[in-house]
Subunit: 314 residues, 2 copies
């Protein structure tokens, strides 16, 4: 066991983009004496064995959590309750139990009732990702300079919370603590609403009369392309997000609809001043995101520049 | 004059992202004997002189088009009519007059009445861009493997259309021809609607009660970030797009609203099956875009991976 290891044994339940990135990062940073992994599908477990990132791959969740000092569920939000029920009798006394779900109130509601008093339940949400999923999609640097939000319950053991925070910081993340309810409101606007809108517009484009699918694909560089990236995210994960953060998402949708109505009205009336003022204000937000390092100032146009062919085709 | 030069003299009116990229590409490919540029603001003209990309920078549009064999307006759509009126008396007999506007019916409506019969008017729209603007933002490879749509009027001179097509192909673009009306419908969905939605959601996020601006920025990696990129585009250009493609944009907004209502209803009712089916279908569109090279399969998470710091902070 490495001197730097925070936990003698870490159990990872689920090995998609997030679980796989935690495993790679924890291994790269030497944060665990032993990493034990499991996944629901036998195909994923076989692939994790091939990849050789986990020290051990086991068949069941119960086996995975045995003697583990840190247990992290990296599974769709809707599966957290049943898995909590399943692992509860097998948890080590004093273990930290956490997750990575994009919704926190529902995860607390579903998991807490099953967990014994002698473990520390500290829900977490690393706000990081790509549009890819599956055991091959993860990478050790996914969390670098991203934020991980912890939502410990009132009265949580401070040492346990700090230890989990240290783990996420060692994976490169900045850590912030808030209530589950506030988390769900913030993420409804910075993540859930954008995904819902992207999923919507991509299907709108697919079902139009008068515009072919081939045209939509060919001319996607005009802006549509960026939405398809988001709308390629894992369907199970996102179904569970919307089912489990319904109220906050519906609230944000209401706000969005009001703003869209204002712009629609400006277009219908030919009110150029309102449009110009609006489009100028939104630029400032973009600058703020680049300033704090959550995106690059470098222009993105969908792929690295292709070299120009010197030979003219005419 | 290079042997490969398609045009002895090209006049570029406007030197933003698109005009500047045309100049750089035409120079790199030797497409012009001479490139003459102008821009409305003296600051831009001074900067173009400093950059040294154009062979000559002149003060007025009339001066720019004198003896030019190809004239390209790379200016906001709303300015095309007045500039056509201004340059009309100074155009060389047999010149090709074109533009790069994101809307085509309005450009034809506004420019055609002013142009003399002895020039060839071939409107064009290169579907390429980044969120940056200004004379420094262009680059020669912007159009490589992108599509340029030509919308020549009925009865247009075939040799002139083909010559402009050859010019765009030499800049790396694929060329397609369609009517202005069809162009405006296709672009309303692949470009104008996505921009409108992005502009909307960014302002929604800015004006919320209960979520601070700092939180919106910090947790933007959850999806919101990608919208801010689009919503940082040039406000004047986009004001003019919406004012000049009102009907098609409002039609697409209606379709979008119907689809959003369906998903909203599924969320309110907890209908996971509808959500899952929908999110699965949109993945296929993404694959189509990657397959035809309009985006990369490589995951995007906002910046190149930062290296992990080996030292633990605890």
């Amino acid at each position: 066991m490495s001197e730097a290891a925070l936990f003698p044994r870490i159990a990872l339940i689920g090995f998609g983009l997030i679980g796989g990135s935690i495993a790679r990062g924890a291994k790269a940073q030497g944060l665990a004496g032993e990493i034990v992994a499991t996944a629901r599908s036998s195909a994923t477990r076989a692939r994790v064995r091939e990849l050789g990132i986990a020290d051990r791959v086991v068949e069941t969740n119960a086996e995975a959590v045995k003697d583990a000092d840190l247990v992290i569920l990296s599974i769709p939000v809707g599966a957290c309750g049943p898995v909590a029920e399943e692992i509860a009798p097998h948890l080590k006394r004093g273990a930290i139990v956490s997750d990575v779900g994009s919704v926190k109130s529902a995860v607390v509601r579903d998991m807490a009732p099953y967990l014994p008093d002698n473990v520390h339940f500290v829900p977490a949400h690393p706000v990081a990702g790509t549009e890819n999923s599956g055991p091959d999609s993860g990478f050790a640097e996914l969390f670098a300079n991203r934020w991980c939000i912890l939502t410990p319950p009132a009265g949580a053991d401070e040492a346990a919370v700090e230890k989990l925070a240290a783990f996420w910081r060692a994976l490169g993340a900045n850590v912030e603590t808030m209530t589950p309810e506030h988390h769900d409101l913030v993420l409804a606007v910075t993540s859930h609403l954008p995904h819902l809108i992207a999923y919507t517009i991509v299907s709108t484009a697919e079902e139009l009369e008068g515009v072919t699918r081939s045209e939509v694909l060919k001319f996607s560089a005009g802006g549509f392309r960026d939405f398809t990236r988001i709308a390629a995210s894992d369907p199970t994960m996102w179904r569970d997000v919307f089912l489990n953060n319904k109220d906050a998402v519906l609230e944000m949708l209401g706000e969005f609809q009001e703003d869209l109505s204002k712009l629609t009205r400006a277009i219908r009336r030919g009110d150029g001043e309102t449009l110009f003022d609006h489009f100028t204000r939104t630029r400032a937000i973009r600058r703020g995101i680049v300033d704090i390092g959550q995106d690059e100032a470098a222009a993105d146009f969908g792929r690295r520049p292709a070299p120009l062919n010197k030979a003219l085709s005419n």
